[in-house]
């Protein structure tokens, strides 16, 4: 029997599993989350009463459709929630569930591993009360909690205004939305964004509603520090004119767009290319999501495209896998999905300019700013290591010397900043500074699971 494994039960993974099931190839759908939906379409935990229709706003229809599709599918496929894939080798997944290890062989693998926030470090960002922007949304959607009573939103992302509006609606005082991209940059990105006028209009309406609610909206800001003794007390920024602004608050949500979770793709044999527009290393895929023999990538874990692109690319990857397995597929449907995915990802390229990763200010951050939250490594230590060593200016060497990127998050949080600081200090391009290599286990697993591993 042909076994197709799908990793990740967000919009891409659910649509992939649905397409496989429809073609008579019941997949194994493995998800680290306890509930399907992924991050953007995260559902409230059982016992948490939350009006998701109101909270999701214009996305409510797609949210409800995806969860309805999964409810219909879950009893018909092998769904394994709360299961971490921690290694992949020779057509076998190594998984851990509730402290027990298992292995699972596959003929084809669809990775729909999603993305997490990319965050530019700022002085004081290790204080309790600082969360990622996505984390602030997860607290609300899954747990019905606000990360604070007076919350500052800082970074550069279309989700900044959306999250701020959701927090305002749920009773938080939003003390400011501080976007690090200037209005001039946003205007220059406008022609690309016009490719999807509905999405552009929705983004502008969020800003208008925040303005009507009296929320300060700042553009082109430079975050200076997050103040506090044992927890967040204020976010201090310089505005576009260089004025110092102190926003008293008890929580800060930070986010500079998304970075794909590519560790499993790397273990499965994907090749990586540097994307100069986003300054990220991304797995190489063809128009259908093929990344190697029997390996398919879909959703934001393959290329940042948002939830709609994730749904379409998940179905497309499943159809590509079916075609490669010799099953009949609807080639017209594949062509339509291909066009849709291409259009949505092109729009995201525009967003990457309108909400830019602040490469310059990251490279210039003070020596005293913590870069690696896990191992407590600051920018000064990274610069010293980047100057010396046998291979100056290579991120994996700097990781070995400083331990930045070697901690329990394995460089997920600090990696983007590390590459900017190393490249600037060594006087090389970010591409030349190299890519932090991933390795198994892709997330920490307890040694005790080894005792339960099947021979």
């Amino acid at each position: 029997m042909t076994r197709v494994a799908v990793v990740g039960a967000g919009p891409a993974g659910i649509r992939a599993a649905e397409a496989l099931h429809a073609a008579g190839v019941a997949p194994v759908l493995i998800d680290e989350g306890r509930q399907a939906g992924g991050q953007g379409y995260r559902a409230p935990a059982p016992g948490i009463a939350l009006d998701m229709h109101a909270l999701m706003g214009s996305q409510a229809g797609r949210y409800e459709a995806l969860h309805a599709a999964f409810a219909d599918l879950r009893g018909r496929i092998d769904h394994r929630p709360g299961t971490l894939v921690w290694a992949i080798e020779d057509g076998v997944l190594h998984v851990a569930t509730q402290g027990r290890a298992d292995t699972l062989a596959f003929d084809a693998l669809i990775l729909a591993t999603g993305a997490m926030d990319r965050v530019a470090p700022v002085r004081g960002w290790t204080l309790p009360g600082v969360f990622t922007l996505g984390g602030a949304q997860v607290a609300l959607k899954e747990q019905g909690c606000l990360v604070g009573r007076r919350v500052a939103f800082c970074g550069s992302s279309p989700l900044l205004a959306l999250a701020a509006l959701q927090y305002h609606a749920m009773g938080a005082q939003v003390v400011g939305v501080c976007d690090t991209t200037s209005l001039g940059e946003k205007v220059r990105a406008a022609p690309r964004l016009a490719a999807s006028p509905g999405t552009l209009a929705r983004g502008l309406s969020y800003l208008a509603r925040l303005k009507r609610a009296g929320v300060p909206l700042l553009f082109g800001v430079a975050p200076e520090t997050i103040e506090g003794g044992s927890r967040v007390e204020a976010l201090v920024v310089r505005d576009a004119a260089g004025r110092r602004i102190r926003l008293a608050c008890d929580a800060v949500a930070l986010g500079h767009g998304l970075k794909p979770e590519t560790q499993l793709a790397e273990l499965a044999g994907a090749t990586f290319d540097f994307d100069p527009a986003r300054r990220l290393w991304l797995p190489r895929i063809d128009a259908d999501g093929r990344a190697g023999p029997g390996l398919y990538l879909a959703g934001d874990g393959a290329a940042i495209g948002g939830a709609d692109a994730a749904e379409a690319s998940g179905e497309l990857a499943a159809l590509a896998a079916l075609a490669d397995l010799g099953r009949p597929v609807d080639v017209r449907r594949m062509a339509a999905l291909r066009r849709r995915v291409r259009r949505l990802r092109t729009f995201q390229m525009g967003l990457a300019r309108a909400f830019a990763w602040p490469a310059r200010s990251v490279a210039d951050m003070g020596d005293d700013v913590t870069v690696c939250r896990c191992e407590n490594i600051d920018a000064g230590e990274i610069r010293e290591a980047a100057r010396g060593g046998l291979v100056p200016g290579e991120v994996n060497r700097v990781k070995a010397i400083t331990r930045c990127g070697m901690g329990r998050c394995q460089g997920r949080v600090c990696g983007s900043a590390l590459q900017e600081i190393v490249a600037a200090e060594a006087g090389v391009t970010v591409e030349a500074a190299g890519r932090l290599r991933g390795q198994a286990p892709v997330k920490p697993v307890m040694l005790s699971i080894a005792e339960t591993d099947a021979p």
Binding site: E32, G33, R34, Q39, P44, A45, P46, G47, I48, A49, L50, M116, D117, T126, L127, P128, G129, V130, F131, T132, G134, G135, A136, V138, A139, L140, E142, Q143, G144, C145, L146, V147, G148, R149, M170, G171, A172, G228, G229, S230, R231, E233, D250, A251, E261, R373, C374, E375, N376, G407, R408, C409, R412, V413, K443, P444, M446
Partner: protein, 114 residues
């Protein structure tokens, strides 16, 4: 936080970090954190159960500071907590359950003075 100690910035230092913004209809769940008896609601994560009643989750290993989670989606590993009988959990993705005895530092250090 267990003893309600005040930080350098005054009484507010011990106030809860997170705010419940919705009704909970899950059953009450009893647990302890650093020896203090607390209750939460079924459906809540360990992180929410602790941070709606206190300011942090764990002691930081390399400096006199505390951590309270960061990504809330299982990626950053900032929110580890430990259990009195050994073992650890990622607080943001682990549900709170009846009778858990949670501590803010690895149990081998649990007896050392703060």
């Amino acid at each position: 936080m267990a003893g309600g100690e005040a930080g350098p910035d005054g009484d507010d230092a011990a106030a809860p970090l997170l705010v419940r913004a919705t009704v909970r209809d899950g059953a009450q769940v009893r647990f302890t954190f650093d020896g203090r008896a607390l209750t939460a609601h079924a459906g809540e994560t360990i992180l929410v159960a602790i941070l709606t009643q206190g300011p942090h989750l764990r002691a930081f290993e390399f400096a006199p500071a505390h951590r309270a989670g960061f990504c809330l989606m299982g990626a950053c590993q900032d929110c580890w907590v430990w259990f009195e009988d050994g073992g650890r959990a990622r607080a943001c993705t682990t549900p709170i359950t009846e009778g858990l005895r949670i501590v803010s530092r690895p149990p081998m250090h649990a007896g050392t003075p703060r």
